[in-house]
């Protein structure tokens, strides 16, 4: 802890005292020892700034902090600075400490700066942010409130204060500040996310859904909102929406543009600190800022291949595909076996329709890590599209060993198995598992219903269950394919009149909306008229069942890595 009690409780009186002293023309003469000796004759209670612990720090960091500290000592020792100038000296040094996570030293600097310049909102704001980072919420609240006294319209302070109050369980006060910050564009999505959580905490599911949905609309990449939204829908009893959002959950929070915090983080000097801030920017979805951070870090540590891959990913996500490609090439030039660089290079090559080149990269990735899930998924999908189903199946199986519940890989595996003529029992086992792990993904229920309705194998066929599955599908989403599969299930149970009626309706709809289905619906209808069930479960080139997608954005944005730098 620091050497004084409440951070801001004494700030105003101390600074008032300083102003009074200045007005009376009193000159203060700081101790020659600088910070350690306090304020000499005036005995103003400025805080001692502790030396940060930086055992084994990068030389660049140690040197930067040491220089900054000496400069501050010199400025303080001069004795001719105005309080405002001295506040800036303390505050700027605090920023440098803060950027290097030397919290105790930064805290002392900010508090001195806030004491010396009580009309400057930023020092109180930085102090609040520092306290909030360290879980010292009561002090954070005080500091933000101080910043808001100086600038009542400071939206970022309202938002951060609202978050701190929310963590303290002070819901009314939190709601008040969050609502104010929700009126400003820069903080609106983040504030609504917090308001949604606040509503969820009080089991006001309707309000939570409203606020979170709006937050998601404003920040569609903020995939963390989806889990919270899923919980709100679940609370309200809307399980299908809950599952749909749960499926799309991710790790990105709503981005907040905070120039003050960005300015602080940009004081970083060591590459690790720069990389750390860059990763934080990635997590906030601020890819341009992240790219800048990685570039700065790489200027100090140009051989860091992992950081360069992260730079490539950030560049791609800003839309600068060519720069991303260049960075990946540079990584592979020095580290030809780098698995993630090879994988992402393959993804980029595919995006440019260079399939052979992509396969070269993917093979290189697999040489380094034979079970690399992403590469296996991509190779599986390439093979599936090429009609090499057995090979596709093998890739998907390896991918699923690593990520057993990956829905797209499960779909690929099922399609590969079906198209390679795999045993219906094996297909059913995989579909049963997929339906249970992804009840929101109707494609699995669709395929399973077809199989249960029309498999020629008695142990696999289960027409009553096919009816139940298909009815649920159709009732949830009465599209043509779902009508068709329900008719198929009815026919399998001998309910031909219902099958005919449904197929006729589907045919009429398809004639307008989905002409490519017309001929197959007609042939099905002809069978049902003759009281004949479908001859088999699958349709060649079923347009409803395409190969799973290969999304470069997903690969660049979401593919996990344990070593981002």
């Amino acid at each position: 802890m620091t050497s004084r009690g409440a951070a801001l409780g004494t700030a105003r009186s101390a600074s008032a005292w300083l102003v009074l002293a200045a007005a009376l023309g009193t000159l203060w003469s700081p101790s020659p020892a600088g910070l350690e000796g306090g304020r000499g004759t005036l005995q103003t209670p400025l805080m001692t700034v502790p030396q940060p612990r930086l055992a084994g720090a990068d030389p660049g960091v140690a040197q930067a902090l040491s220089l900054a500290r000496r400069s501050l000592d010199v400025l303080v020792a001069r004795g001719d600075l105005t309080p405002a100038e001295l506040a800036t000296a303390y505050g700027d040094t605090g920023l440098l400490y803060h950027a290097h996570l030397a919290f105790a030293a930064a805290e002392a600097c900010y508090r001195n700066a806030a004491d010396l310049a009580p009309d400057e909102r930023r020092w109180a704001y930085y102090l609040g942010y520092l306290y909030q980072q360290n879980g010292r919420l009561a002090e954070a609240v005080q500091a933000y409130e101080q910043a808001l006294i100086v600038d009542p319209g400071f939206a970022l302070a309202h938002w951060r204060l609202g978050e701190a109050l929310l963590d303290q369980g002070l819901l009314e006060a939190s709601r008040r500040h969050l609502r104010i910050s929700a009126e400003t564009e820069d903080t609106r999505a983040a504030a609504l996310f917090a308001l949604g959580r606040l509503a969820l905490a009080t089991r006001d599911y309707g309000t939570a859904i409203r606020d979170l949905s709006e937050a998601l609309r404003l920040a569609p990449r903020a995939s963390r909102i989806r889990l919270t939204l899923a919980m709100a829908y679940r609370g309200e009893g809307n399980l299908s929406q809950a599952r749909a959002h749960m499926e799309k959950r991710g790790d990105v929070s709503p981005a907040v543009v905070d120039p003050l915090i960005t300015a602080m983080e940009q004081r970083s000097t060591g590459q690790r600190t720069l990389f750390h801030h860059a990763i934080s920017a990635v997590n906030r979805g601020e890819y341009a800022l992240a790219a800048e951070g990685f570039k700065s870090g790489l200027s100090l540590d140009p051989g860091n291949a992992n950081a360069r891959v992260s730079l490539a990913r950030a560049l791609y996500l800003t839309g600068d595909v060519e720069s991303a490609r260049r960075e990946l090439s540079e990584v592979l030039h020095g580290n030809p076996d780098h698995v993630l660089a090879n994988f992402l290079s393959g993804v980029l090559a595919l995006e440019s329709q260079q399939v052979a080149t992509a396969e070269g990269f993917f093979n290189a990735a697999l040489a380094g890590e034979p079970k690399h899930a992403g590469t296996r998924y991509y190779m599986g999908t390439l093979r599936l599209r090429a009609g090499a189903y057995a090979e596709a199946l093998r890739h998907y199986e390896v991918a699923l060993e690593q990520i057993p519940d990956h829905g797209l890989a499960q779909l690929g595996e099922v399609l590969a198995l079906i198209r390679s003529g795999g045993a219906h029992a094996a297909v059913r086992a995989r579909l049963e598992r997929a339906v249970s792990t992804h009840p929101d993904k109707s494609i699995f229920a669709y395929l399973l219903a077809r199989l249960l309705a029309a498999s020629p194998q008695g142990k696999v066929r289960d027409p009553p269950r096919a009816v139940a599955l298909a009815e649920r599908l159709y009732n949830n989403d009465p599209q043509t394919e779902h009508a068709e599969v329900l008719a198929m299930a009815y026919a399998a149970t001998g309910r031909y009149p219902e099958a005919v009626k449904l197929q006729e309706d589907a045919l009429a709809a398809a004639a307008f909306f989905n002409p490519r289905l017309v001929s197959r619906l007609e042939s099905g209808l002809a069978r049902y008229w003759l009281n004949q069930p479908s001859p088999g479960p699958w349709i060649g080139n079923d347009p409803h069942v395409g190969a799973p997608p290969m999304s470069p954005v997903l690969a660049f944005r979401d593919y996990p890595t344990e070593t981002p730098y």
């Binding site: 802890m1 930086l54 084994g56 960091v61 879980g135 929310l166 606040l198 909102i225 679940r234 070593t563």
Partner: protein
């Protein structure tokens, strides 16, 4: 009374069961003049254990993660003995002399077994004393110790030990004569992965305790490279720097043998860096489920399919991540019905800058993160929590919380921390306000809560048999501390030891205590939870001002239920499955 004598098997000599309690130590006053809840009495009662973490400046992750402790009655004399897990020197070629913090002189670097020699006078006065019986017990631990689990694996009525290590784990069979035998090899449970917490649980309800082992990450000593904090200073690595390890599920096949069914049970289908484990019927289907607290990755909620396998439902159940959708650094965990609605809820301790998280069960195994409204978010954000439990501190019938704290990175350590391992943080105590909110009452906890140490394990149990819960706290690179509850026994209580037909503690049994005219209280027989530690299997139910009799309905792990009526307060009872009186 006559009927009770016939059906109730007393726990121990009548003197132990007296309500005429005279505290061993007068409760010291806090600064505010109120009595403190706990006295720290380890030195006074002969618990002289200092953890050695083997650090030599290399920043191995293992050195800041241990170790735990167990409270268990190894000699069946009716009081809780203590098992304390010890570390070792770490690093290739390193000798103890290289340690930055030397070990305690005069003690070999092995786990310790301390026998509780509690004596209770006829007037109810108690003398608590622990005697180190490690040497005569034959216990020989061989690796860098992390944690311990307790359970009677062979249904012989003597509690056995499973010790988790960085290195091969060990199963130590209690021979019933004060000694233990290492049966790891025969049992087939010597998991070589880095294990921390484990739990004995009868997953298939066949009457034999199976074993779940939570494994952390893979750290190769020979390829160790120190990590850096974001500010470039040398610091401990996060678990994300290492591959997470698969957990293990061993099925007890009898005759002290286990079969590794991790794969077919589905447990290896998902990985996470497991630190805490608790088992309970979380979805109300009368089958035990598993909840695994993972460090820096989503927690697992393994729902028992009743067919020898489990499926992870943590995300949709709402217990994988916090309300913001973020995985947290989960360490300690406990499951208990803190809000009195009859289902087990979850509490998980986390890193500094995260909250400890309370997941409230709706009875179906779906949870809501209610940390904020329970008042637990703010007070926990500045601390890194490890050992924890829901326990009834003041015996008012509502479960309170202990959180043992200690940082894991130099960046997040309190600025006042010092020494060769400056990760110290104070522990915390939260009092339940009728299951609706928790209040941080650490300031009233006693002198032990003014200390700042690196707490890891915490084992909970009634060490002096006075009807309230005491805590054995272990500190990394520091002393073990016994916190004696000085306040709980001032309220009324009912103590239950539930055993199955073989006399084994019925881990997983649920008990509904119904004070006459009062609200029902649900508790569970467990030794697991917390962090790397094992708790008293007895169920202690606080009754507050209620002094009458209570009826007790036990839902045994095999699905059967029995009821005992008119049990008087302020005593321990041993209830054996199949012995409840039949009502006409």
């Amino acid at each position: 009374m006559k009927i009770q004598r016939r059906v109730i098997d007393w726990l121990g000599p009548p003197a132990l069961l007296s309500n005429a309690l005279a505290p061993i130590y007068a409760a010291p006053a806090t600064n505010a003049g109120q009595s403190a809840y706990f006295s720290e009495i380890s030195a006074a009662v002969g618990i002289d254990f200092r953890h050695f973490n083997g650090m030599s400046g290399e920043y191995y992750l293992m050195e800041i993660m241990g170790s735990g402790a167990a409270l268990f009655d190894y000699d069946n004399d009716g009081d809780l003995d203590a098992y304390l897990v010890q570390g070792a020197m770490l690093g290739p070629g390193k000798r103890v002399a290289d340690a930055l913090s030397p070990p305690q002189s005069g003690q070999p670097l092995t786990d310790r077994l301390l026998r509780n020699d509690l004596t209770v006078g006829e007037d109810g006065s108690r003398i608590l004393r622990f005697t180190d019986v490690t040497a005569e017990s034959g216990i020989d631990t061989v690796a860098y110790g992390m944690g311990v689990a307790t359970g009677d694996v062979d249904n012989d009525g003597w509690v056995d030990l499973y010790v988790t290590n960085y290195g091969n784990n060990q199963l130590l069979r209690n021979n019933g004569d004060g000694t233990f035998s290492d049966i790891t090899r025969k049992a087939g449970v010597g998991d070589p992965l880095w294990s921390v917490s484990a739990s004995f649980v009868d997953i298939d309800r066949d009457g034999l305790l199976d074993l779940f082992v939570g494994n952390y990450v893979h750290v190769e000593m020979n390829r160790h490279a120190p990590c850096r904090a974001p500010n470039s200073a040398v610091d401990y690595c996060t678990p994300l720097a290492y591959p997470a390890q698969p957990d293990r599920l061993y099925r007890n096949t009898g005759d002290n043998r286990f079969q590794d069914i991790s794969r077919q049970a589905g447990i290896t289908s998902e990985q996470g860096a497991a630190l805490g484990v608790t088992t309970a019927d979380l979805n109300g289907d009368l089958w035990p489920d598993l909840y695994v607290a993972n460090d820096a990755s989503a927690n697992h909620l393994w729902i028992n399919t009743k067919e020898g396998s489990f499926r992870n439902d943590a995300f949709f159940a709402g217990a994988a991540v916090n309300m913001q959708g973020a995985p947290e650094g989960s360490m300690g965990v406990d499951a208990a019905d803190f809000d009195g609605d009859g289902d087990p809820d979850l509490f998980v301790t986390h890193l500094t800058r995260e909250t400890n998280t309370i997941y409230v069960n709706d009875g179906r195994g779906w949870f809501e993160d209610r940390t904020i409204t329970m008042g637990l978010a703010g007070p926990s954000k500045a601390y890194t929590g490890f050992g924890t439990a829901w326990f009834d501190l003041d015996n008012d019938g509502w479960l309170d919380i202990f959180a043992g704290n200690g940082a894991v990175s130099l960046i997040s350590a309190a600025s006042g921390s010092s020494g060769p391992l400056p990760l110290q943080q104070p522990n915390q105590l939260f009092l339940s306000r009728a299951g609706k909110r928790f209040e941080d009452i650490s300031a009233r906890g006693g002198a032990a809560f003014e200390l700042s140490e690196i707490t890891r394990g915490a084992a909970f149990g009634d060490v002096d048999n006075d009807g309230d819960t005491d805590i054995l706290v272990t500190n990394n690179n520091g002393r073990a501390r016994l916190l004696l509850n000085d306040m709980g026994h001032r309220s009324n209580w009912l103590g239950l030891r539930l055993v199955d037909g073989s006399g084994r503690d019925a881990l997983g049994a649920r008990v509904r205590v119904q004070p006459t005219g009062g609200s029902p209280i649900w508790r569970r027989v467990r030794t697991d939870g917390s962090y790397a530690s094992a708790n008293d299997p007895r169920v202690l139910v606080g009754l507050g001002a209620f002094r009458g009799t209570a009826s007790v309905r036990v839902h045994w792990p095999d699905g059967n239920a029995e009821e005992w009526r008119d049990l008087p307060a302020n005593r321990y009872f041993r209830l054996r499955q199949g012995t409840a009186p039949r009502r006409r």
